[in-house]
Symmetry: C2
Subunit: 369 residues, 2 copies
Amino acid sequence: MVRSCARKDQTMTQPQPMTVPASQSWLETVRRAVDERLSRFFADERAAVGELAPDALLVLRGLESLTLRGGKRLRPAMLVAAQRAIEPRASLSMVLSACASLEILQSYLLIHDDWMDGDEERRGGPAVHVLIRRELGGRGVDAVGAHLADSLAILAGDLGCAYANRLFLESANACGAAGPALETYLRVQRDVVLGQTLDLLGSPDVSRMHDLKTGSYTVEGPLLLGAILAGAHHAQLDVLRRVARPLGEAFQVRDDLLGTFGDPKKTGKPVGNDLRVGKHNAIVRECELSVPAETRAPLTAILGRIGASDDDVRRAMTMLEQTGVRARVEARLAKLVDEAKAPLAGAPLSPEGVRAISELADLFGARES
Amino acid sequence: MVRSCARKDQTMTQPQPMTVPASQSWLETVRRAVDERLSRFFADERAAVGELAPDALLVLRGLESLTLRGGKRLRPAMLVAAQRAIEPRASLSMVLSACASLEILQSYLLIHDDWMDGDEERRGGPAVHVLIRRELGGRGVDAVGAHLADSLAILAGDLGCAYANRLFLESANACGAAGPALETYLRVQRDVVLGQTLDLLGSPDVSRMHDLKTGSYTVEGPLLLGAILAGAHHAQLDVLRRVARPLGEAFQVRDDLLGTFGDPKKTGKPVGNDLRVGKHNAIVRECELSVPAETRAPLTAILGRIGASDDDVRRAMTMLEQTGVRARVEARLAKLVDEAKAPLAGAPLSPEGVRAISELADLFGARES
């Protein structure tokens, strides 16, 4: 059904009807299947917690709300693409719980990060600590109430961690790959935590920090996990690692472009958000390297000033465009995407899988939210 | 060596030299082996993190410091006792990583709990969020610095969670029981988080809260996990569940007695700590049920008053003794320990294992810290 709808849309807009619609359709199929698995998981778990500890449903609701609000399911798509690259006939159902696990793992990490970073919005809604503060609102949120809400949000994350692990285990068992898959999965968890630590401490090794914090569970983790679950051998994993390195960086550079030039309606964040919060992202770094101090004054004037006016922020953005900073960062992004796709040529992977990974690489370079 | 030392001590103080010294020796053997496994794990991980993200060593040190400060290793002992009850010839080395995992799991939970509860001391040293605040002290701890330290402590807990899972996986793989053992292990994680949620929310169902928060990972979890890792069948697990229920409650009642009447030198907490912080523990509940309001006035006067004088606190303690409240709670504790040991008689478990579990039950009822 999904497949045929996508094909219909396709014939009207695209010159290569056999490739792209099939792709659109697999992404949509994964997205819907993951959403359904997540809904089923949360329904089961609401029943279990309602029985076991009804007062704790508040915390489960926070986790569920954030998880179901996420839409793109890019990490599951990455995992499924890698599964297909190794074993094109393997069924989605074998790895569906692992896909759901990646989404709940992300919720866990986002819940803790948002509280740490003081971010109040996420995915077009309140961050979980804000959501819980509001739910506790009846009691009046004073300092103690806020600490209670923050504590419950940390627990919502902790609960998510236990759930993500359990869901991943389900797929690992189904695929008969519990040992190696879980080892990689837990290494990813460690790496993300280390990456967030470097981020909080303002570590100067920004690329290391991004590798650990974002790359590990956004690109490399899902690729390796999908492949391991499908029974990949070493040479195949090596190719995927070589894809993952530039692609993880591409994801981050795209994130930085969106954080600076993104459409607030699509990103859900104010104009030039990264600049206002003073994030030393790839655009700011490129500007500092290539633009003389007097020319970059409009940026210096607003960097890290949350209260900067939209006009002042737009002035900095115009400078970044006129000095070619934006174009240079975009060129670097395109180069990273090409680098990521290069090892796929002639690799010991299935053609379907190579197409799917390639398509995701393009999407990572072009996404708008 | 350990075994013979324990025997030597024994001959001077105990009438049954053949039973107790052997027991002392297995507990001591487990404790030392777990301590060694933990030291080795942290040494390896310090090297790995030092390579990968040296700035993050701060967080690893916090986790390590708290974990190595813990002394009794009762949960590992419980796990080993259950392993022996199922398979007395199985080697300790098969489950040693699972034992270390339980200790790091506890560190994770304690780090998060201490921050939530505002507890500044733990195991005779600073809580991890306090430790990290001090380490960051050079920067001067203002409100932002304190939030940074708290955030890093949450990450120390998160890191511990990933490590605990990885260590548990190691034993689960070694025992060829990855699926069922990990499922139980992750259910325990969920239950503890739900229990802590009920605790924070002041849920009126105190016994449910304790079952989830303490019982699950202190008694039932270790017993079931040790048994599953040793290949237990259903009937054996059922017996252990029947042991676990009263024993988990006994552990909590003993905790409440220590929190009220414990020796500050041994517990590391001020005289009558639970009363000062206003904990509605088993002693307070028994007093409210059985002592008229005017007689219990000395307790009412200090309950929840952190600044109460030692003399006032001692007056409340004297009242609790004179009205027989303490004796009644102690009698209940003894009854719970007996109830826990009852299902062991004639159970399909090895005699060595039954002795070990029985001994731990006595220890849980009598521990002084």
